[in-house]
């Protein structure tokens, strides 16, 4: 018989004690695995999404964390908006002229290039307008660039793909400015698909609905990013709708441009563009009936009426210093701030999640330690019964080292079975909760999703078991044959 067989026999012989010891170890290991997995899920939910495909978010002055939570994760309370002219600072003179020509605004805006445009190079800037909801999901007003230029995935090289349909277009003959793309979870949970129409609600998930509907033209494949939880609508359509949410025609009509959206020629507004109130008056249907959108019915907002919540900026990837340079330049200004989302996420992790994990790890490691002490006590207690067995084995020819090895092996058996059992328990629990975890965090977990730290569990538990076995093993080693053989 091999020593392992012999150890296994001893394990089975004291089955109740062995099983209880193993179970307590399994619970300890299970707890550690759970903590590691939960931490893994949390950190993946944050950091995987930190590989957002851009290096800066620009938004109104305030907390950079708040800005990041809003524009990267679509979480937290909505923030203020930025004037459209801030967006234009990222455009070249040609682009600015085109915008002024198209939407109307201060002609002097077209006379110079944007302050930050030189830093863009091969990068991009994508505007976001937030504030509305589709069910519980954030509605994100943006441009088709969002789907063309952003990449995601671990290497930030995967373009967004669609399980059905296509990206939204700025203007299409069928849907005018009112195309929408929904993330995979939005499609699932709201039970919508291509061709369905939805009406964003303003302000909070239960708010009243806008009367302009967006037609879904694309459903995105799951990305494991917050984008799964967002409904994207065309920014132009968003503007047209926004004014309906905050009608301003009845109150303060002192600002001439805000309630004369009819003009589609370039307006000559005052150069001042820092109007802070939400004056996004738009062309809306006055009858309030939800009607099919037709292009000729809408007049796009002028520059002064436009606002963006945040800008996703990728500075020239060929020059690593441009990012910090733009960030500093923006933050020195009075109007907006620029935050590096990766940095903010890392800070958040360090601030909250890191200490939390450490606390949990300490607790669970103590649990494991207690379980290891349990092994020690269980085996050591059985040593009294065993002394005779050990003496008999010795008399049969077993060496001191052999009987010692049997004790250590038995402890290892408890450790291995306990560790495997605990791992299975924890992963079964995770698998059982996987759909809820995905709902809450967007992170997909299954039975076999492991965190890299789990590799250390078995060696750690084996080491603990080895230490726990030392005392009984020493006692086995020293067992005197003669005095323990006699009847």
């Amino acid at each position: 018989m091999s020593l392992i067989q012999i150890a296994w026999r001893n394990f089975c012989h004291r089955s109740l004690s062995s099983i209880l010891t193993t179970l307590s170890l399994a619970l300890g290991v299970g707890l550690v695995v759970l903590v590691l997995s939960i931490y893994g899920v949390i950190s993946e939910a944050f950091t995987r999404n930190a590989s957002v495909g851009y290096n800066l978010v620009v938004g109104p002055k305030g907390s950079p964390l708040q800005l990041t939570l809003n524009s990267v994760f679509y979480l937290s309370q909505p923030i203020e908006n930025l004037p459209y002219t801030e967006y234009m600072e990222f455009m070249t003179q040609d682009q600015r002229k085109a915008v002024v020509d198209r939407f109307g605004g201060d002609p002097s805006l077209a006379e110079r290039g944007g302050r930050y445009a030189p830093y863009l190079g091969d990068g991009f800037v994508i505007p976001l307008a937030l504030g509305d909801y589709f069910g519980e999901f954030r509605v994100v007003g943006t441009t088709p660039d969002f789907f063309e230029k952003l990449r995601h995935g671990p290497n930030v090289d995967q373009p967004f793909t669609f399980s059905a349909g296509r990206a939204l277009e700025e203007f299409s003959p069928e849907h005018s400015y009112f195309e929408a793309v929904v993330g995979s979870r939005v499609a699932n949970q709201m039970n919508v698909g291509i061709g369905d129409k939805f009406y964003p609600t303003h302000g909070d998930p239960s708010g009243h609905g806008h009367e302009l509907g967006f037609t879904i033209v694309g459903v995105m494949d799951p990305t494991g990013t917050p984008n799964d939880r967002a409904a994207f609508v065309n920014l132009e359509g968003f503007y047209l709708m926004d004014g309906h949410a905050k009608p301003i025609e009845s109150e303060e009509s002192d600002e001439p441009e805000s309630d004369e959206p009819e003009s589609d020629e370039p307006e000559s507004d005052e150069p001042e563009s820092d109007d802070s109130d939400d004056d996004a008056g738009a062309n809306v249907e006055e009858d309030g009936e939800k009607r099919e959108a037709r292009p000729e019915e809408y007049r796009l907002l002028s520059i002064l009426q436009r606002e963006v919540t945040a800008l996703l900026v990728q500075t020239d990837p060929n020059n690593l210093f441009f990012g910090p340079a733009v960030q500093n330049a923006i933050n020195e200004g009075i109007r907006s701030q620029a935050a590096a989302p990766v940095g903010e996420i890392t800070k958040l992790m360090d601030l909250i999640v890191g200490p939390l994990r450490n606390a949990l790890l300490v607790i669970t490691l103590i649990t494991c330690f207690v379980a290891a002490v349990g092994i020690l006590v269980a085996i050591y207690n059985s040593m009294n019964d065993r002394r005779r067995d050990i003496a008999v084995m010795r008399a049969l020819g077993a060496r001191r080292s052999t009987v010692t090895a049997i004790i250590v092996l038995e402890s290892m058996l408890v450790a291995i079975i306990g560790a495997v059992l605990g791992w299975i328990l924890a992963h079964a629990a995770i698998a059982a909760c996987s759909s809820r975890i995905e709902d809450q965090t967007g992170v997909q977990v299954g039975f076999f999703s492991t965190s890299s730290n789990e590799i250390w569990i078995l060696p750690l538990v084996l080491a603990l078991a080895l230490i726990a076995a030392l005392l009984p093993a020493w006692s086995a080693y020293r067992t005197d044959v003669g005095s323990n053989l006699s009847a």
């Binding site: 001893n10 049969l396 044959v481």
Partner: protein
């Protein structure tokens, strides 16, 4: 021809709980030839078990020499004695000492594993067959009668193909009928495998079956000097 066992001037003493040292054994000479069967009798506390432990290398003598099959036991390290015992000596205990976690056949196989390390499942079965327990292979000691347990212990002692079998009152805990069976079994098996046998007993009836009976108390100088009142 060298004897299988050759003891000269063997002295063993133990420290006493109340202090002082008690010499238990002082044996000038004891020899057993290969295949010979010897009964060892003596008073309780006379040092019989101690002598067997010394011969098995489980205890170290204070002085003197123990040669088994030409090997001087007292010159070996503890590990060397372990190895030597595993290869050359079988031991049947007064109280059987079967390992409770293992079945009958496994107990026999352990005798091989710890003995000379050979793995011959057929020999284990064959030994159990020879002691009449072929149908009890998978029984645990707690499921065997006392006599059956002792027979398993004999099979186990023989499993490692020893050259010298030490048996410490193997029939003391068995009813008279079984005692006869067990005794015959040991003697028969030893004869078959040409194993020398040194059997401790205080049963004169058992001793009378042996051609050679040694009285420890007579040859033990330590014993005669102790006051056994």
């Amino acid at each position: 021809m060298t004897p299988m066992l050759q003891i000269t001037d063997l002295v063993k003493s133990f420290p006493q709980p109340e202090g002082g040292i008690l010499t238990v054994l002082d044996v000038p000479k004891l020899e057993i030839e290969a295949g010979e069967q010897v009964a060892l009798i003596g008073q309780s506390g006379g040092g019989k078990t101690t002598l067997l432990h010394l011969i098995a290398g489980l205890l170290v003598p204070d002085r003197g020499s123990i040669r088994i099959n030409g090997t001087e036991l007292t010159r070996l390290s503890e590990q060397g004695r372990d190895r030597f015992r595993a290869g050359a000596i079988g031991y049947v205990f007064q109280t059987f000492n079967l390992l409770p976690a293992f079945t009958a056949i496994e107990n026999v196989r352990l005798g091989m594993t710890f003995g000379n390390g050979m793995q011959e499942p057929e020999r284990a079965s064959e030994l159990l067959l020879r002691v009449g327990l072929a149908d009890r292979e998978r029984y645990r000691p707690s499921q065997l009668s006392v006599g059956q347990q002792q027979r398993v212990a004999i099979a186990r002692a023989m499993a490692g193909k020893p050259k010298l079998l030490l048996a410490d009152e193997p029939t003391a805990n068995v009813d008279p009928g079984s005692a006869e069976t067990v005794l015959n079994l040991i003697r028969h098996t030893c004869r078959e495998e040409h194993v020398a046998l040194l059997m401790v007993t205080h049963d004169m009836h058992v001793a009378s079956k042996f051609d050679r009976v040694e009285e420890l108390d007579e040859m033990n100088r330590a014993f005669t000097s102790i006051d056994h009142s």
